[in-house]
Amino acid sequence: MSQQDAPTGPFLPVLDQPSTRRTALKAAGAALGLAAFGKAVSPLMVIPENVSVDEFLQQHYKEFTDADKKKVFARLETETKEDYGTDVTISDPKPIPGVRFGYAINLSKCNGNGACMEACNKENNHHRGVDQSYIRVLEMSKGSMDMENGTTNYDHTVPQDDKFYMPVQCQQCENPPCVSACPIEATWQEDDGIVVVDYNWCIGCRYCEAACPYHARRFNWEQPEIPADEVNPDQGYLSNRIRPQGVMEKCHFCLHRTREGRAPACQEACSTGARVFGDLNDPDSDINWVLKHKRVFVLKEELGTQPNFFYFFDS
């Protein structure tokens, strides 16, 4: 007997298993198991229904050529029309060179009426079922800055005498822990300081949501529902276009507005004048006036996130 045959030699009689009844039974068992498995995972068939080949193969935003962009935006517009029944335009305004956005809130003026949350919900095509918004307004007890004494689900006339109100949204951190967390660079900081998400690249692991110290991120637990006549048709690829199910989203300072010189929706909606928005690099901007003349503070400064979002009181 040659060496070549060694493995199949006499001491391994089992290698050529005769096709006994047991083998046949096993084959039948395997076939049954496979069939049952196919049945069990059959709900997955919605993936090929909902995710086209183009979408599946779509590259990261930063790898788009202009032609890619046109194609992808056109596809998304058609899909929105099919799913929501509205004609929308998806645009992609770029950061304005030299601009860095900052936001400040005057806590002496904010009265907790929540107009900003409502405006955010409409502007950004949020899921209507859960009154989603990127802003949470905390009702805080006077005499304490401890959020533990605050509540977000107050339900009475505002303002209450012994309370003050503190809206919190994405702080557009200079040093954002959410961006470091993401395993696939689906979220990043743009040149004007705005942290964005590519909703078509995100895999929905929610690590960024765990990393954010300001509860600024929202996950699409289900497909957002928005009545056709309420869809905001003016949409940005990295901002308020309708998000797919299973991905992360967050406040983007309404970049489809602010990069075109308009105010963010929450600021426009606020009647108290508590919200101050502008370019931190422009010495004459409102936001710089506040930074120069008021004593401002940021939330959780000790974490080193360096928010571009400030709070102050009138003296």
Binding site: P7, P177, S180, C182, P183
Partner: protein, 423 residues
């Protein structure tokens, strides 16, 4: 007999072994699925549970993660809790490797492959636990280096994906190589596996350390943000891993009659005694800091142990874990635990359950409660989450059973060869 002389002459013969490896696997699969009625019932039940889990997961993908009880406040739940435990199990499997190779414990050498099989099954469970937690599993390819776009070296999650897959490959190689050589009736060439064994020891420590870094690197979650987390993870892994292996050896003895030498289990119990004591000491010092200092750091611990603002969701969980861990440890310290008997089995079960809770429901969930804006939103897993997790465990056991059967067959065969040789 010519084959046996061949074996002595050529320890490694590259071309042929490589070509027949798939045949070996095919043969192994056939052998591993042979068994008595009890075996088939066991496999059938496991398959059925796995399928229920697969179905629940498929529905979750179709309908959205809304079918889980996770929220924007508690954005990780049972899946990630279970993932953390399984990483520990995988890392703990290596606790047989260290005495076997570093201290040349002869008896341990014979059973070390069981630990590696447990590690392989546990890593597969880890991977599944992460996949079912993804909102968009269809985009899984984004995570593949060079094809997708990985955020390396900054993201700890990227690191985790890399080290977990690396660990799986290393262990598959070791188990596969050793078994294959035995199957061929050859002496394994140390060159081909000893370096990997040492690599796997370091790697085992790295998988659990990186997994701890995943949590403790987040400044916004004070409950996790402690340097003790990684050492605690390791200590508890070196309890749950060996405890699990002891259980597996017992089950093997009952079902196959294969009695491992008593030495290894004794060594493992010694390891558990030390590791569990260290774990409890670290837990105590952690609790002291949390409660004595108070403040934001204490808020989650307060909720976890005593409940706060009228919410008590995790209190029963954590006290169960504490009691189980303490009783289990006490049992391990009884002299009778060193003998074959039921005491060590009870102790193993108590410690495994205790650590599963301590590292999962008692660590991942309270990290989110209260939330970063100090809101308290409670969480308890939904039926879908239980089904999916049950499915993952069933699949893990299925895999482990097949691996162990394969190992047992190859070993039995080798014994019969040895007997033929003696004749």
């Amino acid at each position: 007999m010519s084959s046996i002389t061949a074996q002595n002459q050529t320890p490694i013969e590259p071309a042929d072994p490589v070509r027949s490896y798939p045949r070996f696997l095919w043969w192994g699969l056939g052998e591993a699925t042979n068994g008595g009625l009890g075996f088939y019932v066991w496999m059938f039940v496991l398959t059925a549970i796995s399928l229920v889990g697969a179905n629940a997961w498929a529905n979750q993908v179709a309908d959205g993660m809304i079918v889980t009880n996770m929220t924007d406040h508690v954005s990780w739940g049972l899946y990630i809790a279970n993932f953390t435990f399984c990483v520990g199990l995988a890392a703990g499997g290596v606790m047989m490797v260290i005495p076997a190779y570093l201290y040349d414990d002869e008896e341990m050498h014979k059973v070390v492959i069981i630990g590696e099989a447990v590690a392989v099954a546990a890593i597969v469970m880890c991977t599944l636990s992460v996949v079912v937690d993804l909102g968009r599993p269809d985009r899984f390819w984004h995570l593949i280096p060079f094809i997708g776009r990985v955020n390396w070296p900054v993201s700890m999650l990227t690191w985790d994906v890399i080290v977990l897959n690396g660990y799986l490959l290393i262990n598959l190689h070791i188990v596969g190589y050793l078994l294959y050589m035995r199957y061929l009736g050859r002496k394994p060439n140390p060159k081909w596996y000893v370096p990997f064994v040492f690599l796997s020891i370091i790697w085992a420590i790295s998988i659990h350390t990186v997994t701890a870094f995943l949590y403790c690197g987040l400044g916004g979650r004070p409950f996790w943000n402690t340097a003790l987390l990684a050492p605690r993870f390791l200590a508890s892994a070196f309890v749950s891993g060996p405890a699990f292996i002891i259980l597996v050896m017992r089950i093997l003895r009952i079902t196959t009659g294969y009695a491992a030498p008593p030495g290894p289990a004794r060594t493992l119990i010694q390891i558990i005694r030390v590791a569990m004591t260290i774990n409890l000491v670290m837990l105590a010092s952690e609790l002291f800091t949390l409660f004595y200092t108070g403040g934001a750091h204490g808020a989650s611990a307060n909720y976890l142990f005593f409940g706060s603002h009228g919410h008590y969701g995790l209190v029963p969980w954590i006290w169960t874990a504490i009691v189980f861990n303490l009783v289990g440890t006490a049992l391990f310290f009884m002299p009778a635990a060193l003998e074959r008997g039921n005491i060590r089995i009870v102790a193993c079960v108590l410690c495994i359950v205790g650590i599963w809770i301590e590292k999962g429901m008692g660590l991942i969930i309270p990290g989110f409660i209260p939330s970063t804006l100090h809101e308290i939103v409670e969480y308890s897993p939904s039926l879908v989450e239980w089904k999916v997790t049950g499915g993952i465990w069933a699949f893990g056991f299925l895999l482990l059973t097949v691996l162990l059967k394969l190992i047992a067959t190859v070993f039995a065969q080798e014994q019969s060869i040895a007997e033929t040789e003696r004749l």
